[in-house]
């Protein structure tokens, strides 16, 4: 567990203890409600996690090298943004990978596009987001995030 997850744990436990002081009955009621929500969400999350495993097996992280290293920046950025949307690589794998590619001369524009869609756009988590927030919300947020990622990448190309 990394430092930040531990801090998150401590904060959550402290808040929970504070909640208990507000009355056990209230907490019990809230727990019942949260449990219902969690029950419905966890099945989907586990499904998504095993789906990620499949995606990573057939599209290994190293395969983005070709997109990021593409000589055509525009085309490369589009591919990189799409690759970032469908995969879910842990950040500690993605940063060194992209870093080494940039050091070897790859353009920073597709690199920025990839890193931004990687975290902000979730094709794999889409079904879950749709169920929790509705189609309009999920579709809107992911599409806007995709456009935002391309914008960020293009602007970074101009600035840096």
């Amino acid at each position: 567990m990394d430092k930040f997850t531990i801090i998150f744990w401590v904060a959550a436990v402290l808040l929970f203890i504070l909640s208990l002081r507000k009355g056990k009955a209230k907490v019990k009621q809230a727990m019942k409600q949260s449990r219902n929500m969690m029950k419905s969400i966890v099945g989907d999350i586990v499904g998504i996690i095993f789906l990620i495993g499949l995606v990573l097996t057939f599209i290994p992280p190293s395969s983005i090298e070709s997109a990021l290293g593409s000589s055509n920046t525009l085309w490369g950025s589009a591919i990189a943004a799409i690759a970032g949307s469908v995969t879910l690589i842990p950040a500690f794998v993605a940063f060194p990978l992209v870093g080494s590619l940039v050091q070897n001369g790859a353009s920073i524009i597709p690199a920025a596009a990839f890193l931004t869609t990687l975290t902000m756009v979730g094709v794999v988590t889409f079904p879950l987001e749709k169920r929790e927030f509705g189609t309009k919300f999920a579709l809107g947020r992911n599409l806007l995030s995709f456009v935002a990622a391309l914008l960020i990448a293009a602007l970074m190309g101009v600035i840096l």
Binding site: F4, I7, F16, M38, G99, A112, E132, A148
Partner: protein
């Protein structure tokens, strides 16, 4: 019973089927996919209990008026900034943010602010920024951070315009042991939803329960259950036993 469980977990069942198929054709690939998943399973196991405790704490500790004032539609720029900070100090993958976002929405947070929280939760995180600076340089990290913050705020604004509160599904507590609507029997007449709109809601032609705390509604629930033409409402309120 098993069939309805399978229906509820469509995704899980589908993925399991793919794994079984793959296991038959290319067992080594299936094995590799399983081991690829293990990191994420561990991550989920570490973060979901925290999310559970947090949603409970939000429900108990934070009054609706407070959320409405600080994260609601009229919270303005300050609300947006607060959402940005809240999302940034979090830990865990984006799906962990969904229950929190949902809990805040139910308490009166605006769509725009929830979008800001989710996006910041996904992209802006201190350990990630440190990692990015290490491998891509401080300049790269700082520029991307500034641009991302600006665009996230813009996205919150656009989503607020785009998505209405009615577009977001209400959390249903159908599986509750104290009150439930038998989905197979419900004929979708809507009597319960009009008699007790705080308790029942119609969705896709069937009635659903939306409250967890029944204590305030015991009388109306009994009345409604009596009126239900299909006798599809099942409830158990304080030692009165189960009545169909």
């Amino acid at each position: 019973m098993i069939l309805s469980k399978m229906k509820k977990n469509k995704l899980l069942v589908t993925v399991a089927a793919v794994y079984i198929l793959l296991g038959l054709i290319q067992p080594d690939k299936a094995w590799q996919a399983l081991s690829n998943s293990s990191y994420y399973l561990l991550e989920m196991a570490q973060i979901m209990p925290v999310i559970f405790l947090l949603t409970v704490s939000i429900e108990v500790l934070v009054p609706k008026e407070w959320i409405l004032k600080h994260f609601g539609k009229d919270s303005g720029m300050l609300g947006n900034l607060l959402s940005l900070v809240l999302g940034s100090i979090s830990a865990g993958p984006i799906y962990a943010a969904f229950p929190i976002g949902k809990a805040l929405l139910a308490k009166g947070a605006s769509v725009g602010n929830v979008v800001i929280i989710l996006s910041a939760w996904a992209v802006i995180k201190v350990p990630m920024l440190a990692n990015e600076a290490k491998f891509l340089g401080v300049q790269f990290m700082a520029t991307r951070w500034v641009l991302t913050v600006v665009l996230i705020l813009l996205m919150g604004y656009l989503m607020q315009k785009l998505v209405k509160e009615e577009d977001i599904p209400v959390e249903k507590v159908d599986a509750d042991e104290d009150l439930s609507v038998e989905q197979d029997y419900c004929i979708g007449c809507g009597v319960c939803a009009s008699m007790a709109s705080e308790v029942f809601v119609m969705d896709q032609g069937k009635a659903h329960v939306i409250v967890g705390d029944l204590s305030e509604y015991t009388e109306i629930i009994k009345e409604t259950a009596d009126r239900c033409p299909a006798k599809a409402i099942r409830y158990r309120i304080e030692s009165e036993g189960e009545i169909c």
